[in-house]
Symmetry: C2
Subunit: 389 residues, 2 copies
C-alpha cells in the first residue's frame, strides 16, 4: 500500500516560490543542477523533517524542472513521500546494501541520477561543506566531464529572508519558547533536581501552546551555579540550591523551525553583580532592537548593544546573535561588529546576548526577532527580568 501525503505545513506555491529563488541564484552562478545535502536546506525546499542525514542523501534541483528530486535511503523514502510536497516520482530510494558499504554508497545513486538527467557534462553545484570529502571526490571522479562548483551556503543565504508564512510558524515556535521560560520559573526550586525541572521544561516544549505542539526537541541548555560561565553544557545531576543562579536557553520548534529564547533565574534575590549586568544588558537589548531597520547592517545592531553596555562597564566577547530559522543557527549573517550584511524585511535573528564574563560567571538574555519595514518585531515575549524564585 502507498503512504498518504501528510498534512503540509506550507502550500505547494510556497515551495515553488522558494525553488524559484534558488533557481534564480543557480542562473546567476550558471549552475544547471544543484545537489542540496544540508538537511536544513532540504527541509526548506521540501518540507521533509525526518532525521536521516546521517547517511548519504541529496536533493537535486534541476534548473529546468519544476520539482526537485530527493534521493535517499530506501527505509526513509516513505517519510519523504508523506512529508515532502513533491509528486511520488520525485522520491528516489536507494537500496539498503549501499549503507555501510565502502565500495559504493548513496552518493553513487545521486551521481547516476545526474547522469540520467543529462547534466553529466554541465555545471553541477555541491554544498561541499555538508559533504564528506570522500563524497566530493567521488562526484568529481565519476562526473569527469561536469564542471563541479562549490555552492555551500547558497540556499542558506536565500532562507535568511523569510516569507510571511514562515514568520507565522516562527511565531508559533516563539509562543512555545515563552511558555517554557514561564514553566521554568514554576519548577526551579531549591532542593529540586535539575533533571526534574528540565523534564517539565521539555514537556512544555513538546506539548506546545494554543493547540500547536512542538514537533522536534531543539536545544535545552540549563547552566546553574557554579556553571553559569558555561554556555553549552548539559544540566547537572545535582539539585538547585539557595542562592543559585540558573541560565536557561531553549527554543520551541515546529516543522523544523525554532525560536530561541534565553532568560536568567535567581533563587533568592540577585546579587549585585548579577543585577548590574542584567540592567546593562536589558538596556543594550533595547538599543540593539532600536537599531534594527531595513538598510542598517548587522554590525550596526551589534554596535548599538556594545556601546550601550560599555557605558555601564561591561563588554561581551561573543557575537550578539545570528540568523535564525530552520535548524536553529543559520551559518550566514552574524550580529557582530564588522558583519556588513544589510538588513531586509523578514530577515529573522536570534539576538543572543548571553555574556560569559568569567569562567564561573555568566548571564543570559535573548529574543528572536524579525526585521520589519520600519524596525524590529520581537516574536518572543517573556518578561525581560531576572526571574526570582
Amino acid at each position: 500500500m502507498t503512504i498518504t501525503k501528510g498534512p503540509q505545513a506550507f502550500p505547494r506555491a510556497e515551495f515553488l516560490r522558494r525553488l524559484g529563488t534558488v533557481k534564480e541564484e543557480m542562473g546567476r552562478r550558471n549552475v544547471d543542477a544543484l545537489v542540496v545535502s544540508d538537511p536544513n536546506n532540504i527541509t526548506y525546499l521540501t518540507g521533509y523533517t525526518a532525521v536521516s542525514g546521517y547517511v548519504p542523501q541529496g536533493l537535486v534541483v534541476l534548473i529546468d524542472e519544476e520539482e526537485p528530486s530527493f534521493i535517499l535511503r530506501q527505509c526513509d523514502a516513505p517519510a519523504a513521500l508523506h512529508q515532502a510536497f513533491m509528486d511520488r516520482n520525485k522520491v528516489i530510494a536507494y537500496p539498503e546494501y549501499l549503507i555501510g558499504n565502502p565500495e559504493k554508497d548513496g552518493y553513487d545513486t545521486l551521481i547516476d541520477f545526474l547522469n540520467d538527467a543529462g547534466v553529466a557534462n554541465r555545471t553541477i553545484g555541491l554544498e561541499q561543506n555538508s559533504l564528506p570529502v570522500t563524497a566530493t571526490e567521488k562526484f568529481k571522479r565519476r562526473l569527469p566531464k561536469a564542471k563541479v562548483v562549490d555552492c555551500t551556503l547558497a540556499v542558506t543565504w536565500i532562507r535568511l529572508v523569510k516569507s510571511d508564512l514562515e514568520i507565522e510558524v516562527m511565531r508559533e515556535c516563539a509562543a512555545i519558547s515563552d511558555a517554557a521560560v514561564l514553566r521554568a520559573a514554576e519548577v526551579i526550586r531549591p532542593g529540586v533536581r535539575e533533571a526534574d525541572a528540565v523534564a517539565e521544561i521539555v514537556g512544555t516544549l513538546v506539548r506546545g501552546v494554543n493547540g500547536k505542539p512542538g514537533t522536534l526537541i531543539k536545544l535545552v541548555g540549563l547552566c546553574s551555579s557554579p556553571r553559569t560561565g558555561t554556555c553549552h553544557i548539559p544540566w547537572s545531576e545535582d539539585v538547585f540550591r539557595d542562592g543559585s543562579q540558573i541560565n536557561l536557553e531553549l527554543g520551541g520548534s515546529r516543522h523544523g523551525y525554532a525560536a530561541g529564547l534565553m532568560r536568567t533565574y535567581s533563587i533568592g534575590a540577585p546579587n549585585d553583580r548579577l543585577q548590574r549586568i542584567h540592567d546593562a544588558e536589558v538596556e543594550g537589548l533595547e538599543a540593539a532592537l532600536g537599531a534594527v531597520r531595513p538598510g542598517a547592517t548587522c554590525s550596526d545592531v551589534a554596535e548599538a548593544f556594545n556601546r550601550t553596555i560599555a557605558k555601564r562597564g561591561f563588554k561581551k566577547d561573543t557575537r550578539c546573535g545570528y540568523a535564525h530559522g530552520i535548524g536553529w543557527l543559520e551559518p550566514t549573517a552574524s550580529l557582530k561588529e564588522g558583519d556588513m550584511t544589510v538588513l531586509k524585511p523578514n530577515m529573522t535573528f536570534h539576538l543572543m546576548l548571553g555574556n560569559w564574563v568569567d569562567e564561573d560567571f555568566g548571564y543570559v538574555i535573548s529574543e528572536t526577532f524579525r526585521v520589519t519595514e520600519k524596525g524590529a518585531d520581537v516574536l518572543t515575549s517573556a518578561p525581560r527580568k531576572i526571574f526570582q524564585i
Copy 2:
C-alpha cells in the same frame, strides 16, 4: 574566578587507558599527532559532552604526551575545564573574532598549536570525514612539511570495545530506556495527542531511574498509523486513534552514552499481520542473540536473524543493528550479512530489528546488548511483547 572541576563520570585512569590504546594505534600508523574532531570521539577521550562541535574545535593527541590538548572556542573553554579530565593548561581557548570569520578560524589556532608542539614536519592524522573540506585543505596548506594522513574512524573503531566502567554507564542508560518504554504504555491512549504522550516519555528519559537522571536527550521516534512504514519522522500533531499501531524508538542517555530500545504498541488487539511479524521477529531476535559469542562475526548474527524470519515468510531489508555507545550509532561495525567484524567481549550493539515492510506498514523491536565471554548480555529488559493498550 576559576571554575571548579565537576563530578567526573570516569576516573583519570580510565581516560589514560583509552588514550593508551589510541596511542598504540597511532604508533602502528606512524602518526605523531592525531587531531580528533568527531565530537563523540572527543567525549570518549576527555569526558566533555557540551554541544560545541558546530564551530571549529579539535583534540590533539601527541604520541609522547600523557594528556591531550583541547583547542576550542573561548566561550566553551569553561565547560571543558569543568568536564574534561585534563589539567587546566590542556584547555586552549581561541578568541571569538575567529567565529564566522572567512579569513581565519579556529582551525588556524589548531595549526598554530601543532607548529608550537614541534610536529609541523612530522606525520599528522586527521579525521577528514568530520572536517569540512576547506579545513582539511587548510591543514595541508599551512603545514606543508607535515605528512597529513586520514585517520577517520581510527578512534571510533577503538571505542567499539567498551570497558566495564562504560558498560555500567550503558546499563544505567538501558534502565532509563526500559522505564520510558513502560511509561509509553501508560500514556498512549485513544484521543490523547501524540505530543502529550511524547512529553511524558521524554520526561522519563530526562528524570531517569534509580536516582540517575538522563543527561542528554537522544532520539525519540514515535511513528503511528498511517506512518508505521517510516522510521525517522517526528510525531504527528494528531491524536492516537482506536486501532492505531505505534512504533517507538528511544534511548536513555548518560554522559554522552545511549542505549537504544524499540517496542511496538497497539490500541486494541493487534491485527493478524502485526501479530505474525511480531512472532517472527521475536523468534529472530532470540536466534540473533543466540549467535552472539566471541569469535563469531557480525554477519553470523544477522544471518541467524534473517534465516529465522525467512522461515516465517518475512525478510528485513535494513541491517540488523550497529555498534552503539557514545552518540548513538557508532559508524563502524554493522550487524549485517557480509560484515566480517569479529565479535569480542564488551563490544556493544543496538540489535535494531525495525522492519519497514511496506510504505504504510512497519514493526519495531530492538535490544541493546554487549558481547560477553560466552554469549550476549542484554542490557535492556522491557518485555518483548506488543504493548496492547
